[in-house]
């Protein structure tokens, strides 16, 4: 009797071990070929129908009177749900690695003096700037960050391909980074984001901006029609407004923030521009699930 019970326990343990191995094998399944770039898409979520991987390789963000060229790649990745006919958008789902929009610092031309001019600054600010200049801490980075959560993003694949209407609604905030500016110098916030209504078609901004055109890019199907890649894609919006900067200069914020606000100039709609050029790739969750199963 005891021998029989021991045999049952052993068999059960073996079964558990084998199941665990099986599960481990499943978890290690990897996407292959052109699908690898979609590894961070939440494609196992039943609500996710499509996956997006977009790399902005160049372009510019003009905020008031300051222009920041995009010189380092910025990645937007995640999943998209079914098309909502009423909203004319697909809901967006965050990337599984938590990096839906990569935080890529871009160099601000002119550095610190470009946004905080020494000559016109109060004595205290002037003294601090001098210190930073003497210590070669004059470089300023501008980092685009997602404002709010990934679910605030909206995408419209139809508009992306058709070169008309809003293709991507992206709530962002701009993080200005330099030791002098402190850690919390932002234009836009989760509560008051900069909302880009990006199109591959033509914009209709308020003056003084004039219409500019985006481009869907050159479409190419990969993996036998399962991946669509749009090279030289150009998403544009020059009708957005930006709130005033906040939190710049640490404890001297009350002095520095107004200076930066003045330097940016008017940032109401018609004075700002976003041009994002790069490659957009899309695929379906079903294609990824199949590829995953085929490569245990």
């Amino acid at each position: 009797m005891q021998k029989h019970r021991a045999r049952v326990v052993c068999s059960a343990m073996l079964l558990v071990a084998l199941t665990a191995l099986g599960l481990a094998g499943s978890a290690q399944a990897k996407l292959t070929g052109g699908y690898t770039k979609f590894a961070n898409c939440p494609y196992t979520n039943a609500e996710v129908k499509k996956c997006l991987y977009s790399v902005t390789e160049s372009g510019e963000v003009v905020l008031g009177s300051k222009k920041v060229p995009i010189e380092k790649p910025v990645t937007l990745q995640g999943g998209a749900g079914v098309f909502n006919e009423e909203e004319e958008f697909q809901k967006f789902y965050a990337a599984t690695n938590g990096i839906t929009l990569s935080k890529t610092p871009q160099n601000v031309p002119g550095g610190l003096l470009g946004i905080v001019p020494e000559a016109s600054s109060p004595f205290l600010v002037k003294a601090l700037i001098k210190f930073f200049l003497e210590n070669s801490l004059t470089g300023v980075n501008s980092t685009l960050e997602l404002a709010g959560s990934a679910s605030d993003i909206r995408i419209n694949e139809f508009a992306l391909a058709a070169e008309e209407g809003i293709a991507l609604k992206l709530p962002v905030k701009v993080h200005l980074e330099n030791p002098f500016l402190g850690k919390n110098c932002y234009v836009g916030s989760s509560g008051s984001p900069i909302t880009w209504n990006l199109t591959t078609g033509e914009t209709s901004p308020p003056a003084p901006n004039t219409p500019i055109s985006g481009a869907g890019g050159e479409g190419e199907f990969l993996e036998s029609g399962r991946i669509l890649q749009l090279k030289n894609n150009k998403l544009v919006d020059n009708a957005w407004s930006a709130p005033s900067p906040t939190g710049c200069g640490g404890i001297l914020s009350f002095l520095v923030t107004p200076i930066i606000k003045a330097q940016l100039g008017t940032t109401t709609a018609g004075h700002n521009t976003a041009v994002l050029k790069g490659t957009v790739s899309t695929t379906t969750s079903a294609a990824l699930i199949k590829n995953n199963k085929e490569n245990p």
Binding site: G217, S224, G225, A287
Partner: protein
């Protein structure tokens, strides 16, 4: 003084020759002809493609039945016309992932005219717009309307009475088709046969 007058005379003669060359080139726009006689009034050309496919890089769509209806006429000695119908049936793709759910010509009629390129007659169709909706759970553009737009030039072969459209003929006529913002390739051979008043008469463009 005489030298100057001679030089001016030579220049004028050269200019006259050049004008004559350009005038002859411009008047060389071909006309529709039946049994070598210029078409008077209008005629309807009806047919189906012998073979036809549309390729967006990586995805080729082929239709077994690619029919067309083209009304033709001559205007000031130049062949004109318009595509009035273009029913497409039994269309498939070269992939397992994507099937053709819907396909159809949009914004008909499409105007057309004849042109001569390197001594050969071409038919140029403008305002082309074909909407394709693909389906398939794994298809990257499943459920999305893909519009193929632009203009297309096809080489008319008077011997075989066909019009051939492909990359070479589109390039020769400076025409292009676009889909998903990129270049789309269309290849097809279309017989040109009269259906109304000139049935069984040899159709040519010259």
């Amino acid at each position: 003084m005489r030298i100057k007058a001679t030089a001016i005379g030579t220049a004028l003669a050269a200019l006259a020759v050049l004008c004559a060359v350009f005038a002859s080139s411009a008047s060389a726009a071909p006309a529709w002809k039946f049994e070598a006689k210029s078409l008077e009034g209008s005629e309807v050309i009806l047919g189906g493609a012998l073979e036809s496919s549309l390729t967006i890089p990586g995805l080729t769509t082929t239709c077994e039945n690619f029919l067309y209806k083209l009304s033709i006429k001559n205007e000031a000695g130049t062949g004109k016309g318009e595509v009035t119908e273009l029913p497409l049936y039994n269309c498939t793709t070269n992939t397992e992932a994507c099937a053709v759910e819907k396909i159809g010509a949009e914004k008909l009629p499409w105007p057309s005219h004849l042109a001569t390129v390197s001594s050969s007659p071409y038919i140029i169709i403008e305002g082309v717009r074909v909407g394709i909706v693909y389906s398939g759970e794994e298809c990257a553009v499943g459920g999305i309307l893909v519009a193929v737009t632009g203009s297309a030039g096809g080489l008319i072969d008077n011997t075989t009475e066909t019009a051939t459209f492909n990359n070479t003929t589109l390039a020769a006529t400076g025409t292009a088709l676009k889909a998903l913002s990129g270049k789309a390739e269309w290849s097809g051979v279309f017989p040109t046969e009269a259906f109304q008043w000139h049935r069984e008469q040899a159709l040519s463009a010259s």
